[in-house]
C-alpha cells in the first residue's frame, strides 16, 4: 500500500523515479495509443455525446434522491431475503462486514474486485480477525501478493511485467513459473479455483444497485465475481451509495458506455444481476446468506454540494486515467491515492481527506482530455482547480500564489512589473529572443527549454501606431491579447491585425484589459481571479463588436467557458458576462468560419507545415477543422502523430512539475520532427513558449509560430 505524497518536493522525487521506469513508460505509451484508436472504433455505432448526457442526467437525479433510493432498495431487497446495511464511514462498513463474518463462523474469504473495498481498506480489517482473504480478480490477486495498491481502477496491475508476475506466482505456488502470459493466467485459474471452493464468504462490489428491484449488478470479464457470489454460502456486497439508481433502464444505458470507455469493449464477458438471496447448496439452510452494505463516507454530503455533486456521476471506468498525459508518464501509483486518475485526485480529497489530497491535486496539467471522454460528463479539470481553491482557503495560500494574487489585483502594477522585467532580464538574454543564461530560479530542472524574453515593446505600446483605420469595415472586432502575446509575443497579434485589416475588418484593443485570470485559477486564487474577470468584462463593451477575438486558446476557453461559472452569483451582471463570453472567438475560427478565407486568399509556397492542437482549442473550444484547413490553404499540411496530446506547458504546471512537462515536450517534438515539416504552427502562445523553447534548447532548426504569422506571411496582397 503506498501513501499519498505529503510535500511537493518528496512527490517530485517519486515522480522522477516513475519517469525512469522504462517498462512502465513503454507499457503506458502503447496503451494510450491503442486505447484511443480502439475506443473510437467501439463508439462508432452509438451516439457518445447523447449517452453521456443521459448518464449525467440520470446520475444527477439519483444523487438528489439518494435517501429515497436507499429506502426503496432496502425494501425490495429485504423482500427477497437480503439484509441491507448503511455505513456512515469506512470504519463502520468494515465493522459490519467483520461482524457478518464472525456471526457466520467464516474462516476464508474470497473477493472480487471492488474499488469501494479498496477505499475502506477492508482486507486489513478482516485480516485483523485472523480471516484469510484472497483477491480473485487476476490483477488484484497479483497486487495482493505484492502488497501493493491498484495502479488503475480497471487494470490494477498494469504497472507490472510478466516477469514480475512470474516471480510472484513462483513464490505463491512454490514452483518456478514460466513467464508466458497464457500460462500465467492458467496458474491463476488453478490456484484460485481451489480458493473459491474452500471459501465460506464471498465479497463483491457492485456497479449498479437498482432500487426498483433491489438488485445489484457486477460488470466483469474474468467471471470471478460469479464464482465469488455463487460458491461460498455467504455473500456480502460493499456498495457506494452513489451506485444507487432508480430503474434498470439507467443501468442498461450506462452499460452502453462503461465497457466502451473502460476497455473499448462493446460489453464485458459477464454482467451479473443478483436480485435476492437465492438457492445455495453450500448453505445450511439451502439459501444464500446475502448482505448488501452501502457506504456513505462523504457521499451524501457530496450529493448536497451544488458543484461537486457531479463527482457522484463517476461509473469507475478509469477512462480519465487512460487519456491523461501525466498518468501515461508516471502511472497510477503516482496519480492518485486509492482512486486513480483525474477522478482519483478529486475523490482523494473527499474520501481520504485534505492531507492526502493537497499535493496530488496539484498534478493536473489542465489539458481537458479527461473531461472530453468522461462517461458521466464530469468537468474534471474544473473540479480539480476548485479543490486547489478550497485547499488554499483551508490551508492558507502558498507564498508564490499569494504574491501572484497581490500583483494581479492591480493591472497597472502587473503590467509595470512585466515591462520592468525586460530591463531586469537584459544581462541574461544578451538582448536576444531567449534568456540565454537562466536566472537562478529557473536553474536545474527547468533547463529543458529556453525561456522567452519579454519583448522590447509590448503590443499595447505598439497599438497606437498599428491600429487600422478603415472607413467602411466589414466587421468590427476587439482583441483580447492575454499577457503572453501582449508582453512576450506582440508580433503574433500584429500578424493578426495585419491579416484582418487586409480583409477590411476593423480591430480595437481596449487598453484596460488584463490577464484572463487562468493562472490564478490554476493556483487556486479564486478571489483575485474574480476581480480580474470583472475588470476584463468592464474593459470590453461587448455589444459594440461582432466578435472578441483571442489568439490564445487558453485565454479563449477560460473567458468563454469559465467566466460564467466563476462570476455566477458574484457580480449581479449575468447578462453582461454572458454577452462577453458569447462574443469570444478564437482567431482561426474567425478567419475560417466568419471571413471564410480559403486557398484563394493565400500564396501557397508549399512550405511543409505541421500542427499542434492546443488542449484549450481542440477540447476547450472544440475547434478542430478551422486551423487545419487554414494550414492547407497557406502551406503543405503534414499531420503529426498524436496532434491533440498536450505539449506539457499547462501554464503554472510546467513550473510545479518541470520533469513531467519536459517529458511531454520531448514526446511532442519527436512526433513533430517525424513529419519532416520545417514549421510548426500553434494557436496558443503558451504552447509556443513551450515548443519553441524546447526546439531552441535542442538546437532544432524547426520554426515554431502562431498560425496568425503563417497566414499573414502568405496572404495575397
Amino acid at each position: 500500500m503506498h501513501e499519498a505524497p505529503k510535500t511537493l518536493s518528496s512527490y517530485r522525487e517519486e515522480l522522477d523515479k516513475a519517469l525512469d521506469d522504462s517498462f512502465l513508460r513503454k507499457t503506458l505509451d502503447t496503451f494510450a495509443v491503442a486505447y484511443k484508436a480502439n475506443r473510437e472504433a467501439v463508439f462508432q455505432q452509438v451516439n457518445e455525446r447523447d449517452l453521456i448526457a443521459k448518464i449525467a442526467a440520470a446520475k444527477d437525479n439519483a444523487a438528489q434522491h439518494m435517501d429515497e433510493l436507499y429506502e426503496q432498495f432496502k425494501r425490495e431487497a429485504e423482500k427477497r431475503g437480503v439484509v441491507v446495511h448503511r455505513a456512515a464511514t469506512a470504519a463502520e462498513a468494515n465493522e459490519i462486514i467483520a461482524r457478518i463474518a464472525k456471526e457466520n463462523d467464516v474462516k476464508k474469504v474470497v473477493k472480487s474486485k471492488s474499488m469501494t473495498a479498496e477505499e475502506t481498506q477492508l482486507n486489513l480489517r478482516l485480516e485483523q480477525d485472523g480471516l484469510i482473504v484472497d483477491e480473485t480478480d487476476l490483477g488484484e490477486w497479483i497486487i495482493q501478493l505484492r502488497h501493493e495498491g491498484p495502479s488503475h481502477m480497471v487494470m490494477p496491475a498494469i504497472h507490472l511485467s510478466r516477469y514480475q508476475v512470474a516471480d510472484d506466482f513462483s513464490k505463491a505456488t512454490g514452483v518456478k513459473q514460466d513467464s508466458d502470459i497464457q500460462r500465467l493466467v492458467k496458474v491463476a485459474r488453478v490456484q484460485l479455483r481451489r480458493k473459491f471452493i474452500a471459501a465460506d464468504m464471498g465479497i463483491s462490489g457492485a456497479n449498479f444497485a437498482v432500487a426498483e428491484t433491489g438488485a445489484i449488478a457486477t460488470v466483469t470479464n474474468e467471471g470471478n465475481a460469479r464464482m465469488v457470489t455463487t460458491l461460498p454460502r455467504v455473500h456480502v456486497a460493499l456498495v457506494g451509495l452513489d451506485k444507487l439508481i432508480p430503474t434498470l433502464d439507467e443501468a442498461l444505458n450506462a452499460l452502453l458506455v462503461l465497457p466502451r470507455n473502460a476497455t473499448a469493449q462493446m460489453l464485458t464477458s459477464y454482467v451479473s444481476w443478483m436480485d435476492g438471496a437465492g438457492p445455495c447448496a453450500s448453505s445450511p439452510t439451502g439459501k444464500k446468506i446475502m448482505h448488501v452494505v452501502f457506504l456513505d463516507n462523504g457521499r451524501s454530503a457530496l450529493a448536497k454540494d451544488p458543484l461537486f455533486s457531479q463527482v457522484l456521476r463517476c461509473v469507475r471506468c478509469g477512462a480519465c486515467a487512460n487519456v491523461c498525459p501525466v498518468f501515461r508518464l508516471v502511472g497510477g501509483h503516482k496519480m492518485g491515492y486509492i482512486y486513480i486518475g483525474a477522478i482519483g485526485l478529486i475523490l482523494t480529497y473527499f474520501f481520504h481527506g485534505r492531507e492526502r489530497a493537497k499535493v496530488l491535486a496539484q498534478n493536473c496539467v489542465g489539458c481537458e482530455a479527461c473531461k472530453n471522454i468522461c462517461a458521466g460528463g464530469i468537468d474534471l479539470p474544473r473540479l480539480i482547480r476548485e479543490i486547489r481553491s478550497r485547499l488554499n482557503e483551508e490551508e492558507g495560500t502558498p507564498a508564490e500564489a499569494a504574491l501572484l494574487s497581490a500583483v494581479m489585483k492591480n493591472r497597472k502594477m502587473f503590467h509595470s512589473l512585466l515591462k520592468f522585467a525586460k530591463f531586469a532580464q537584459l544581462p541574461s538574454t544578451g538582448g536576444s529572443q531567449f534568456q540565454r543564461h537562466l536566472p537562478a530560479i529557473f536553474l536545474g530542472k527547468h533547463g529543458y527549454k529556453a525561456l522567452p524574453a519579454i519583448a522590447a515593446k509590448s503590443f499595447r505600446d505598439r497599438w497606437k501606431s498599428i491600429k487600422p483605420n478603415l472607413p467602411n469595415p466589414r466587421y468590427r472586432v476587439a482583441l483580447f491579447a492575454g499577457c503572453a502575446q501582449d508582453f512576450v509575443y506582440p508580433e503574433q497579434l500584429e500578424a493578426c491585425v495585419k491579416l484582418l485589416a487586409a480583409h477590411n475588418v476593423d480591430v480595437e484593443f481596449p487598453l484596460e484589459q488584463s490577464c484572463c485570470g487562468l493562472p490564478l485559477e490554476m493556483m487556486g486564487q479564486r478571489k483575485t481571479s474574480i476581480e480580474v474577470a470583472r475588470q476584463n468584462i468592464r474593459a470590453f463593451d461587448a455589444g459594440k463588436y461582432d466578435a472578441i477575438i483571442t489568439l490564445c486558446a487558453s485565454c479563449g476557453s477560460h473567458l468563454k467557458h469559465s467566466y460564467p461559472h466563476i462570476l455566477e452569483g458574484t457580480s449581479g451582471e449575468a447578462q453582461r458576462v454572458n454577452a462577453f463570453a458569447g462574443k469570444i472567438m478564437d482567431f482561426s475560427s474567425f478567419v475560417h468560419d466568419v471571413l471564410g478565407l480559403t486557398a484563394d486568399d493565400f500564396v501557397n509556397k508549399g512550405e511543409k507545415v505541421t500542427y499542434h492542437a492546443s488542449c484549450h482549442l481542440c477540447r476547450g473550444l472544440g475547434v478542430k477543422d478551422a486551423p487545419r484547413d487554414l494550414i492547407r490553404a497557406a502551406g503543405e499540411y503534414l499531420p503529426s502523430e498524436e496532434e491533440e496530446v498536450c505539449c506539457g506547458f499547462g501554464g503554472t504546471y510546467s513550473m510545479k512539475f518541470p520533469e513531467i512537462s519536459a517529458q511531454l515536450l520531448e514526446k511532442k517534438l519527436a512526433n513533430v520532427e517525424a513529419t519532416g515539416a520545417t514549421r510548426l504552427v500553434v494557436d496558443c502562445p503558451g504552447c509556443i513558449m513551450q515548443l519553441r523553447g524546447g526546439a531552441e534548447k535542442k538546437g532544432s532548426p524547426l520554426k515554431v509560430t502562431h498560425i496568425s504569422e503563417l497566414l499573414a506571411e502568405n496572404m495575397k496582397r
Binding site: 496503451f31 491503442a34 455505432q45 427477497r80 431475503g81 480473485t136 480478480d137 487476476l138 490483477g139 497479483i142 487494470m155 496491475a157 498494469i158 507490472l160 511485467s161 510478466r162 502470459i181 500460462r183 500465467l184 493466467v185 492458467k186 496458474v187 485459474r189 488453478v190 479455483r193 481451489r194 473459491f196 471452493i197 428491484t213 470479464n221 474474468e222 467471471g223 470471478n224 460469479r226 464464482m227 455463487t230 434498470l248 433502464d249 442498461l252 444505458n253 452499460l255 452502453l256 476497455t263 469493449q265 462493446m266 460489453l267 464485458t268 464477458s269 459477464y270 454482467v271 451479473s272 444481476w273 443478483m274 436480485d275 435476492g276 437465492g278 438457492p279 445455495c280 447448496a281 444464500k288
Partner: protein, 210 residues
Amino acid sequence: MSNVNPELVELFRTKAAVVGAKVVEAASMAEAARYVADVCASKDPCELLADEPDAEQGPLGPNKVPTRVKRIVAAPDLDAAAFGALAGDCEAKGFACIREGLRKHLAGIDVGVAQAVLGVADSGTCMVNSDDEETRLATMISEISVLILHKSAIRKDLPSIAADLRAQQSTGKPSYTAFITGPSRTADIERVSAIGVHGPLELHIILLED
C-alpha cells in the same frame, strides 16, 4: 419462422464471433444435442483444477494437473425430452450427462449447456436465467460453455431488453440473471488478452430455428 429477423441474426453472429464465441446453427433440439456430444468428444480432456476424490484421473494436462477420464456434460435447464436426447447421445459416447449435483464437480466439467432467454445483436450477448444454482454452475465450471439461443429471441440492443430483464426480477422470488458475451477473459498481465482465467475456455452458441 415468423419472428426471425435475419438481419439481427446476422449481426448477432458477427458480433459474437468478434468476442471469440463460436456460433453454429441447429434445426432442432435433437441436432443441438448431437452437436454438444460431438463437441465433448473432440475436446481435450478436462483438467481437474482441484481435488475430486471420486474422479478417475488421467495424465497431467497442460497446466500440470490431472485430467478427468470420464467426460461430463451438464445440462440442468433442458426439458425432459431435450435432456433425454442429449443423455442418449452422451451415453453412446461413454460420457456422463448430468442435470444436478454440479457442486460435486467444481474441479471442472467438460461441457455445460444452458438455454439463453434472449440474445442482444449489437454486442453478441446472451441473457441466461441462472436463478438455479446448477444452471449457473454449468456456465461457470465447464471448459466449454454451450448456450442455446432461439433465433426469434434476438433483439437489437441493451435498452430494448429492459422489459425482459425486469420480468426476470419481478417473479417474487430471488433471481440471478447473467449477460454472457464471449468466454471468460482477462488482459490483466501486460494488457495481453487471455481466455479462460476463471470460467469457460470456449463459448459456443447454438442458434436454434423456432
